[in-house]
């Protein structure tokens, strides 16, 4: 299952900007800002040299203008909100189903034998390949988008939960049982904390997967509102500034999901319990 490798071997790159010793905050900020300034300058120069038509290669002030205009008219927030609701609905379904299936597979040999072949067949197919099939079955719109996101992001969650439950040391389980823990306490106080680092990795990979798939699905499923739909729609009118503004917002959401949701969650749970440093 190396494509959804568990926490111990999957390196999930979280690029941060490491502060070097003896550097002030200002210097770090300046150092981080410099490459963006260089790229922005290069972009501006190219855009104003009129090598490419302005419609296709808008200068940055147009992009920022589009961003502000769309935000102030409330169009952009509406798109963002719809996209986020779809993401969360799909991911919540995937997390609930994935953790339940993963637990069942980790605890029961029978469930493992039954479910593993089915899942191993489904997992190597890229999620978007299912999209046209889902469109035929469930029609254009929200149902398809949410279901597809759920199905696709469930796989890494299942695999990692399964690996995590299996990685709980047998000796912890037996010593808890010897000290008189019933099944419920065993689950809550031994297996769950033991499997949690893997589960969090799975949820994190699942959320990243959900986000990538949602971007593709929104273009295909013709939903009335949605960030990516906005980008796709703007193409028809050659509104490259709107498209680039949309791409920037997508990047910001992706970054925020990683930084504020998962790194926080990790700090509050596994790091505090001493499962991971």
């Amino acid at each position: 299952m190396s494509n959804f490798a568990p926490a111990a071997s999957a390196y999930v790159p979280t690029a941060g900007i490491p502060a070097q010793r003896g550097e002030s905050g200002w210097r770090v900020a300046a150092r981080t800002a410099l490459p963006f300034l260089v790229v922005a300058l290069a972009w501006e120069t190219t855009a104003h040299l009129d090598i490419f038509p302005r419609k296709l290669f808008p200068p940055l002030e147009d992009v920022v203008g589009a961003l502000l205009r769309l935000t102030s008219t409330g169009v952009l927030p509406h798109h963002v909100l719809d996209t986020l609701i779809r993401l969360l609905a799909g991911f919540a379904l995937a997390a609930a189903a994935g953790v339940a299936i993963g637990f069942a597979m980790g605890r029961s040999r029978r469930a493992e034998d039954v479910l593993l072949p089915l899942i191993s067949i489904g997992a190597p197919i890229p999620g978007l390949a299912y999209a046209p099939l889902f469109l035929l079955w469930f029609g254009l719109g929200n149902v398809t988008a949410v279901l597809l996101v759920a199905v696709v992001s469930a796989f890494p969650i299942i695999f990692n939960t399964w690996a995590g439950v299996k990685a709980v040391k047998e000796i912890w389980v037996r010593s808890a049982q010897a000290m008189g823990a019933d099944d419920r306490r065993l689950l809550h106080q031994v297996i769950l904390p033991g499997a949690l680092p893997y589960m969090l990795t799975g949820l994190r990979l699942g959320l990243a997967q959900a986000w990538r798939i949602l971007v593709g699905v929104e273009m295909l499923a013709a939903v009335p509102w949605g960030l990516v739909w906005m980008i796709f729609g703007a193409r028809e009118f050659l509104n490259t500034d709107v498209m680039l503004a949309g791409v920037a917002v997508i990047g910001a959401i992706g970054l925020a999901l990683e930084k504020f949701v998962f790194q926080r969650l990790e700090r509050y749970t596994v790091v505090r319990w001493g499962m991971m440093s």
Binding site: N3, A8, P126, L128, L238, M243, I250, I253, G254
Partner: protein, 267 residues
């Protein structure tokens, strides 16, 4: 009964149960498909899917589509590796390069590659170049970040030891840094391929380029050819599986395992 035979019996029981599950699942699917609850055009029976797949394989169209998709993935992956590998190594070795590239990479990485499809279509037109560029974008960042962290994870003690034994910069690079970072680099290639494989299917659907497995599925939808869609899905799954297991598995065995690096990277 010895432990070995017991283990073998357990494995046999597992395989038996796995086979049984698959048979049961297939039977359930077949029953639903034949019951006529859903229109036959939407839920084709398994023999129909198999015969469609066989026919498409025989007349060569499926192979041609698969060939085009593979060409896009491998070409894009090759470009991504050619860019990301040297850049990642430079980032790992030189602070200045790291300071410049890392913020840019962390800003671009969270943008899913498919979000660029409409923009790239406007800039480069429909067709092959969009699909390949999307693959490059998808594969670039896992490769870059893994190479970078691999080079940084090389034990500084090894570098100093090699230096003390008189290794010059060249020997240091080829004999210490590259093998030391290899486990990360191979993980990078693997992740990059997975991302590329997902991205190429989406790009082919959206950038409509006449050939390619993603296009087959999307095109078949227009004509309600669900059997063709399922056949193409099976081919996509099979190729992904073969690459993951056979190509990368043997690559790993041939390099990092032989050099004894895997345990160092995974432990």
């Amino acid at each position: 009964m010895s432990a070995a035979t017991k283990g073998a019996m357990e494995r046999a029981a597992s395989a038996y149960r796995a086979g049984l599950t698959l048979l049961l699942a297939a039977a359930c699917y077949e029953a639903v498909a034949r019951s006529g609850v859903f229109p036959a055009a939407l839920l084709p029976t398994l023999p129909k899917i198999a015969s469609t797949l066989w026919a498409l394989l025989l007349d060569g169209t499926m192979l041609e589509h698969a060939g085009f998709t593979m060409y896009r993935v491998l070409f894009g992956l090759a470009i991504a590796i050619a860019v990301a590998l040297p850049l990642g190594i430079l980032m790992g070795r030189f602070r200045t390069v790291e300071n410049f590239c890392l913020p840019l990479a962390s800003a671009l990485m969270p943008i899913p590659s498919l979000a660029w499809v409409p923009v790239f279509i406007l800039w480069f037109g429909l067709g092959n170049s969009v699909a390949i560029l999307i693959v490059v974008y998808a594969a670039l960042f896992p490769m870059l970040l893994n190479t970078w962290s691999g080079v940084r994870a090389v034990n500084p003690l090894w570098l100093r030891a090699a230096g003390a034994m008189g290794a010059d910069e060249r020997a240091l690079f080829w004999k210490v840094i590259i093998p030391g970072a290899s486990a990360f680099i191979i993980t990078g290639v693997r992740q990059a391929f997975l991302r590329a494989w997902i991205a190429v299917v989406g790009a082919e659907m959206l950038a409509a380029s006449d050939w390619g497995l993603g296009w087959v599925i999307f095109d078949a939808k227009e004509f309600l050819n669900t059997d063709v869609m399922m056949a193409a899905l099976a081919v996509i799954g099979a190729i992904g599986f073969v690459f993951e297991r056979l190509v990368f598995g043997s690559l790993e065995r041939a390099t990092v395992m032989r050099w004894g690096m895997v345990r160092a990277a995974k432990g």
